[in-house]
Symmetry: D2
Subunit: 199 residues, 4 copies
């Protein structure tokens, strides 16, 4: 049993290592890095708290124009994205990984079409619509967000979604997937297509 949990942890950490290699090798992912930087998380099958979700220590940043992870993958390295994936999994257990990246009106227009082409749900929440009873309590905000997204998408968690600009909050896009390599591969492809569109 202990052995199985150790092996599950190895798979998660190693998958994140490969995901970071993919992002660092992507020519265009640098275009999608938000001010708060990027994290990518991968959850244990039975995660119930951020310590059971692995992320990249220090997040993924830009150094001299190149994508670079500040630290190693580690369980408990993420808070926000970890709580997000735990909440998502209450609705859809096929998702175990997620990544955040930039959001702008232009990127959103692109993503709406791109997701349609791939048959993915794409939806957003306007953080200004968040009832104050939730937004004022950090821990209660996440359940409201995911619940709202699921309602918009007719009961499903959208594969790609965004949180629009909030007061003091940078807008962000999130992409979900079954593991870290999948979400890294998909977001690298999105950045490539978006870059070719912008030329």
């Amino acid at each position: 049993m202990v052995y199985q949990i150790e092996q599950e942890k190895d798979i998660i950490l190693g998958n994140l290592v490969r995901a970071v290699h993919i992002l660092e090798s992507s020519e265009y992912f640098r275009l999608l890095i938000p001010e708060v930087r990027v994290n990518i998380v991968y959850s244990m099958e039975n995660a119930s708290c951020p310590d059971e979700v692995a992320g990249i220590d220090g997040r993924i940043t830009l150094v001299n124009g190149k994508v670079k992870a500040a630290g190693y993958p580690r369980f408990g390295a993420s808070d926000h994205m970890a709580r997000l994936i735990i909440e998502v999994r209450k609705y859809d257990r096929s998702y175990r990984a997620g990544i955040n990246f930039a959001w702008t009106p232009e990127l959103s227009t692109f993503l709406e079409e791109y997701c349609k082409g791939r048959g993915w749900d794409y939806a957003g929440i306007d953080r200004r619509m968040e009832p104050e009873e939730f937004s004022s309590v950090e821990r209660r905000s996440m359940p409201w967000k995911i619940k709202t997204l699921v309602e918009i998408c007719g009961g499903k968690v959208p594969k790609v979604f965004y949180e629009g600009p909030g007061l003091g909050k940078e807008p962000l896009t999130v992409l979900l997937g079954k593991d870290a390599v999948e979400v890294a591969t998909e977001v690298a492809e999105i950045s490539k297509q978006y870059a070719s569109r912008c030329k």
Copy 2:
């Protein structure tokens, strides 16, 4: 002449190295790291563009709970903080360095008193008050901000100031000084005093 410029660059880069050592050695500075992470900049005497201001490549982040610079000091590594210090120097040439860190209502209350005790001006701008003609054009926002702060402080640039929460913008505090080691030392001291106050 070339030699003097090279030496000025060495002094700036080396001073930033020492500033990073100070921040990484600080026990409490981790408490003041905002979502967008920290940058510290040091400007050449005659800087007129971000390439003539040095900052920390990849910013300063938290890795496993410890303050850590993601990369080396480099000229051109910062955009926002570089434009800020260039604009500040149009009013007060004694400032050549600056650092950004977190802002919360609690920290602001503390800073108001702390700055008073040290004889420093402390002021803030409400980004929601920014005329749209400025906020909608990224490059025009900075002159408005610094001009507004100078007006509030009766013609002086405040030593410490903040930009309150804006739509999609994390609130941040900025501290100015004559070099990077000075601002790092001062902000490390602030974090220590603030931590002892919070206990």
Copy 3:
């Protein structure tokens, strides 16, 4: 099939991540870091070349007195230690991981006793005894070394062994194990016991 290989790679990379965490958290492992620095490798079940063995990119070094991996785990990151583990596995397939660390006469005396206490074989090769037909051809040296060790140990590959000082070659100790976490844990324990002995 592809999926199984991907999962085997994830387990190896993630196990190396955990091994690095163990070494970086060890208080005493810094005492065992040789001039050539440390690498730790973990081999795929059917590895036949260094690209099928993962190691730490840039090796494990000391930064400001603290153990720190220079880069991420990566397949193909090691040459010497990768060829060593491949050669070892021709004799004993229970070993899949190995780590190199310092060798001194004092440490060797300690290890001889320590290994005896744990029931581990400990042996060394004198690189000055290496026939020139092998030492002059880089790729032929490794088979000679492992063959010699196996002969010394009566047909078994020793769990811990060293290569004594050679001309232009730093002496090194190597410890073998079933995975990277095991060898990291064991070498961290060795460094702890050795440190307490030296006091």
Copy 4:
């Protein structure tokens, strides 16, 4: 006085930052990285111990085939190269910086010709010739080495020199200069010329 020392430290640390940028940007310097990795040191005018010489923390290594400093410049980060530059300066105070890199018979043949072309002295010491009374005492070895080199070069410290293979010691080349940027620039040029010669 304190201010002058602080400024001297800034110049040294910043010059090392620029030297690292030069080495990391060099396409061919990776070919000259020895097993023990590279350090580059820059001494204070009146240095008498390694704490008054700055080097690169964790040395300069290869990560995924690219030259990369493991840490920041720091006073006291080097021991061997620091003692070397201090000893050199007893004979020639125009040298304040030095870098070590690989040595092979092929590189040595190249360097002999290259140094002649630039009017630089080039000499080597055979560590097997070192009297045991010196080699057995780590701290007494350095004075012997530099004294021997000065004798070979008729009273001058050679700009470029090597320590041949010793028992348990990797052979290394050292290049001296007035500051870190100079030695980095020169060694980057050497690596470029050597690479073009090897094609």
